[in-house]
């Protein structure tokens, strides 16, 4: 990796101050994407601002009808949290199936959501559960947060402090992992919450997306049979040696049906 200056601030304000004063600075939460990128010399930040020392960013609490998870909360902590398991078991399941044990013990929810890797798992949950992303400067609704390939609504110097997930009446996540990396090749999060039924797909396209036709069908009849004839167009979906766009489109249907079945169990 190239040389950079390393900082470990203790507060959000100090972290934001550092990020704003150094134009080539990068924030690091778990570092599960940034560190490999640095090691491959694919990024050359002047400064790395490690958020690991900002205690206020980690933690899980239930506030009314919402589960609020701090940006620096590790995947393993989400997976094993009694609150999450009780309120939104599908979210705990998702967290428990990210990467491998090493990744789950380093990687964070805020880091994953801010990075918006097209094959990341969390964006599916954020969108399907209609979560709210809270930052040091304000709040973003899930639908307007994810903008495109590795792109989000976050401005420079804006850090995810927490994400608030409404409790779900029914929810499930089904992932078809890439055989090599085990990232989501297609991941479908299906949720029935106070704001209705949502079907969010990650891995298949450049960015998480919703499947309106499935949502409408499931709103009327929350069974896998209700969506069995809904075809997803392959246009614009990802294509690589592990899966053609057509295959991914097909898998969206399969994973959605399996997610609905799991949610009904």
């Amino acid at each position: 990796m190239y040389d950079f200056s390393y900082h470990r601030p203790k507060s959000v304000a100090d972290a934001v101050g550092l990020l704003k004063s150094k134009p080539e600075a990068r924030a690091m939460s778990g570092g599960m994407t940034l560190i490999p990128t640095l090691k491959q010399r694919l990024a050359r930040p002047s400064d790395v601002v490690d958020l690991g020392g900002v205690k206020e960013l980690a933690g899980i609490k239930v506030e009314g009808n919402n589960v609020v998870i701090g940006g620096m909360t590790r995947h393993a902590d989400v997976a094993s949290s009694a609150e999450v398991k009780a309120s939104i078991p599908a979210l705990a399941y998702l967290a428990g199936h990210i990467g491998d044990p090493q990744v789950r013990n380093r990687g964070t929810m805020g880091g994953s959501v801010a990075n918006n890797d097209p094959a990341a798992d969390y964006p599916g949950a954020v969108v399907a559960l209609n979560a709210t992303v809270t930052t040091n400067t304000g709040k973003h609704a899930a639908d307007s947060f994810f903008k495109g390939l590795f792109e989000t609504a976050l401005a420079d110097g804006e850090l995810i402090t927490s994400i608030s997930f409404p409790k779900a009446e029914k929810a499930a996540y089904m992932k078809f992992p890439n055989p090599a990396s085990r990232y989501a090749m297609v991941g479908v999060f299906v949720a029935k919450t106070a704001s209705g039924v949502r079907v969010a797909v990650t891995g298949a396209g450049a960015c998480v997306f919703r499947v309106k036709a499935m949502e409408d069908a499931l709103a009327k009849n929350f069974t896998s049979a209700a969506i069995k004839d809904i075809k997803i167009p392959a246009d614009g979906l990802n294509s690589d040696i592990h899966g053609s766009a057509e295959y991914r489109a097909h898998l969206v249907g399969v994973m959605a049906r399996r997610a609905v079945d799991a949610a009904n169990k």
């Binding site: 010399r41 090599a180 990396s181 040696i241 592990h242 899966g243 295959y247 097909h250």
Partner: protein, 794 residues
């Protein structure tokens, strides 16, 4: 078995303590004072002319000690890397032998080809400098697609090999085979691809070198499977450093699977540059370099035809293969698709006539050479795939067709039509046992039950034979091999009675330190904890050929037994003197010399002590000391054989395959340590299933970029992909080595791809799928199902 730790005992591996506690000493762990670090600039293009290399800016970068390019090697008259096996084509002409410069001079021929070596005070500084080297490339069209590599108009890799053809080789008489086909009641035809694999040893390749200016001696530490052979190649062919001035040490090595047999550019450069730099040099491959520059494995395109009579007896087999050599001929590359492949095409069967034609092709990809099984997995895949296909076509049970054609146990030694003479074997009881353990009878019920869950269940056989324990030196010489294939051993007792076994074999995960110690414990009665196995250092061990081709126990172990016999013979003379008896009356058993028919005895330890402190000693007849050498050259290959049965379930909605049962019954001859053998079989099966379901080196067919260049895209098998394997043995001891052993290192990988793919076809044929190539990834299987459904609809 003589004790709880002797031959046949499941002794825990003594080397594992250091491996599992992080105290192994690998090349990269070497503490070398004043060390410099090398980094190699590698070609980003599959094929390009180098118009110029400008190192001027890089040379001024901080920490840079030296930069070398191909031109420096030309100026220093360094030889090229060699291919050590001359294969003669069907006209008797030696194979085309294109130059293989250690570093590219005017042309790069694959992505990863070595362009410059940067030596700096740190790895990062070397890498920084590499980025400042300006190479002006004139990019040329690349020849990447093996199936088209020999076509007119394919980009030429080397002018010395027109049309990219290295050799057009054959075995068998084509006219006889054609005549048999003309009389056949049934002919089964098969086109298949044996997918290209990347070895991925856990430890990347590494090298370190130090030059002693005072003595002129070089020391090279390398992740080599065969340090003596590496030294020989570097001395005699490449660098010209006399053998006695070059010490090669292969310390703890973390896996090789064949990929660490060969002499590579980077270790050659590290050694050569050490004297020029005047400080030690260290280099360890990054994982992405391993992907690009380790020799890859397999990579065949094959058409095969099997002729059968109306009862299913095999009449003849015809095989045409194009084998990928990559961009340069690696050390043993030419032998792999010929003598290690086509000679195995008889398999376990009495097929009377076999003809094989192999064309070796150059492409703009990484060199291809031996990889676990080396030719034998490719042969087994051809035979076992076409036999299962023939069974399906003729509606004969797959096991029954095999049994009908097995070489009968009474026919050994059995001369095949493709040169090999199998020494021993008894195949029917193996398949019977496998079918019993796999509950073959209950399969159709399990298939029906799986169907009720929406799953397609299939079962597949693979009855393999392999020739390993390489090998009788004279045979190897007749076939064009450039080395002997014996093995050496030295048994060196110390005055206090403990012992070192020095072996020319090399352990890079196989557990030799335990297995070899068990041999001596069993034979001489020395306690296990008083035995040390030493290997991997050309200055301490006798010249040896190293480990590959499942040879270490059959050849290296036999050498150890020979040396032990010499210890006993000498010990008897000393013991006779001590006991005042005649040598002819002295017997040796369980570590004690005895005078037959008396209670006189003297333990081995006392004899050893007398040998080193010869105060009361037959000094005029027997030399002092106890240090015996042996070299063992085997009379034949050894022929492990077995049957594997794979049972799997496919989810037709996603194309995902799950292995639900896997049975392997093997004949490995006598077994020294069953636990270690099971470990080898487990690892081999996993590698073979990896090839069948997951692994595949993918190059972009136009640019030659390696798409599967990291673990993000190259699928490695993992523990959660497998059930517990069911293993068993049906042994016939090898008749020609003193241990009666065969070899077990490669068998799992040789047999399993066909077992898996036959099960895949068995599962998918009811829904109309005709052929699936390896790797049968979820995408590949799903697309095959889609294709069959489209066809059915048309």
């Amino acid at each position: 078995m003589t004790s709880a730790t002797g031959i046949g005992a499941r002794v825990l591996r003594t080397e594992d303590k250091r491996f599992l506690t992080g105290t192994g000493r690998y090349v990269d762990d070497l503490p070398l004072s004043r060390a410099t670090y090398a980094y190699f600039l590698r070609s980003p293009h599959a094929h390009a002319k180098i118009k110029s290399i400008d190192i001027s800016a890089a040379a001024k970068m901080p920490g840079v000690v030296n930069i070398f390019t191909g031109k420096d090697l030309v100026d220093a008259k360094v030889g090229g890397l060699i291919c050590g096996w001359v294969v003669k084509d069907k006209h008797g002409q030696p194979h085309k032998s294109p130059a293989h410069p250690v570093m590219a001079v005017d042309t790069v021929r694959y992505v990863g080809d070595t362009v410059a070596m940067i030596v700096a005070n740190s790895h990062d500084e070397a890498k920084d400098a590499a980025e400042a080297i300006k190479v002006d490339y004139d990019v040329k069209p690349a020849n990447v697609d093996l199936a088209k590599a020999l076509d007119k108009g394919a980009a030429e890799v080397h002018p010395e090999a027109p049309g990219n053809l290295v050799y057009d080789w054959e075995i068998g008489v084509k006219a006889d085979v054609d005549a048999a086909f003309a009389k056949a009641a049934h002919v089964t035809k098969l086109d298949l691809v044996n997918n290209r694999l990347i070895p991925n040893a856990m430890e990347p390749r590494a090298a370190a070198a130090d030059y002693d200016k005072g003595t002129g001696n070089y020391t090279l530490w390398s992740t080599s499977q065969n340090p003596h052979v590496l030294r020989l190649i570097l001395s005699a062919f490449v660098l010209g450093i006399p053998e006695h001035k070059l010490r090669v040490i292969a310390p703890d090595v973390g896996g090789g699977f064949g990929s660490k047999i060969f002499c590579y550019a980077d270790e050659t450069m590290v050694c050569w540059a050490a004297s020029r730099v005047g400080r030690p040099i260290k280099w360890t491959a990054e994982r992405s370099e391993s992907f690009q520059t380790d020799c890859h494995g397999r990579d065949h395109v094959t058409h095969a035809e099997l002729a059968l009579d109306k009862d299913g007896k095999f009449l003849a087999l015809k095989v045409e293969t194009i084998a990928n050599m990559g961009a340069y001929l690696s050390t043993f590359s030419t032998a792999v698709p010929t003598y290690l492949y086509a000679t195995l095409l008889a398999g376990q069967y009495t097929t009377p006539l076999i003809y094989a034609n192999v064309k070796a092709a150059l492409t703009h990809t990484a060199p291809v050479d031996a990889y676990r099984g080396a030719g034998r997995p490719e042969a087994t895949f051809v035979i076992e795939s076409i036999v299962s296909k023939a069974a399906a076509e003729m509606k004969i049970d797959a096991a029954e067709l095999r049994r009908k054609n097995f070489i009968p146990s009474t026919a050994f030694p059995y001369q095949t039509p493709v040169a090999l003479q199998y020494d021993s074997g008894n195949y029917p009881p193996i398949i019977d046992e496998a079918m019993k353990i796999a509950d073959y009878k209950g399969f159709e019920a399990r298939r029906a039950e799986a169907k009720s869950r929406g799953k397609l269940r299939g079962i597949g056989f693979s009855s393999y034979i392999e020739a390993c324990g390489l090998a009788p030196s004279q045979v190897i010489g007749q076939l064009g091999g450039g080395v002997g294939q014996w093995e050496s051993a030295q048994i060196k007792f110390n005055p206090t009675g403990n012992v070192q076994i020095l072996t020319g074999a090399h352990s890079h995960g196989q557990g030799h330190e335990t297995t070899f110690a068990q041999l001596i414990h069993d034979k001489l009665g020395v306690p296990m904890e008083q035995i040390e196995v030493v290997h991997g250092d050309t200055s301490t061990t006798p010249f040896g050929m190293g480990s590959y081709g499942s040879r270490s126990l059959a050849v290296g172990g036999s050498a150890i037994m020979k040396a032990a016999d010499k210890v006993i013979a000498k010990g008897k003379k000393i013991a006779a003197h001590l006991m005042e008896a005649s040598v002819a009356d002295v017997e040796f058993e369980n570590g004690v010399f005895k005078v037959a028919g008396t209670d006189k005895n003297v333990p081995l330890g006392q004899v050893i002590f007398a040998a080193y402190v010869p105060h009361n000693y037959p000094i005029t007849e027997v030399e002092p000391g106890m240090d015996e050498n042996a070299f063992y050259d085997p009379a034949n290959f050894v022929y492990p054989a077995g049957t594997q049965i794979c049972e799997l379930e496919i989810d037709p909605e996603t194309g995902t395959t799950e292995i639900v049962n896997f049975t392997a019954i093997d004949d490995f001859g006598n077994i020294i340590n069953p636990m270690i053998v099971e470990g080898q079989v487990h690892g081999g099966i996993v590698q073979g299933v990896g090839q069948a379901l997951m692994e595949g080196a993918v190059y972009d067919k136009s640019t030659g970029q390696l798409i599967s260049g990291s673990f993000m895209d190259y699928t490695m098998p993992r523990a959660d992909n497998f059930p517990s394997f069911k293993l068993g043995y049906k042994h016939t001891p090898c008749p020609h080595n003193p241990l009666g052993v065969k070899g077990c290192g490669e068998a799992g990988a040789i047999a399993s791809p066909a077992a898996v793919m036959n099960a895949i076809h068995n599962a998918l044929s009811p829904i109309g799928v005709k052929h699936v190539e390896m790797p049968a990834t979820p995408l590949n299987v799903w697309q095959s199902i889609q294709g069959a459904q489209r066809q059915a609809a048309e």
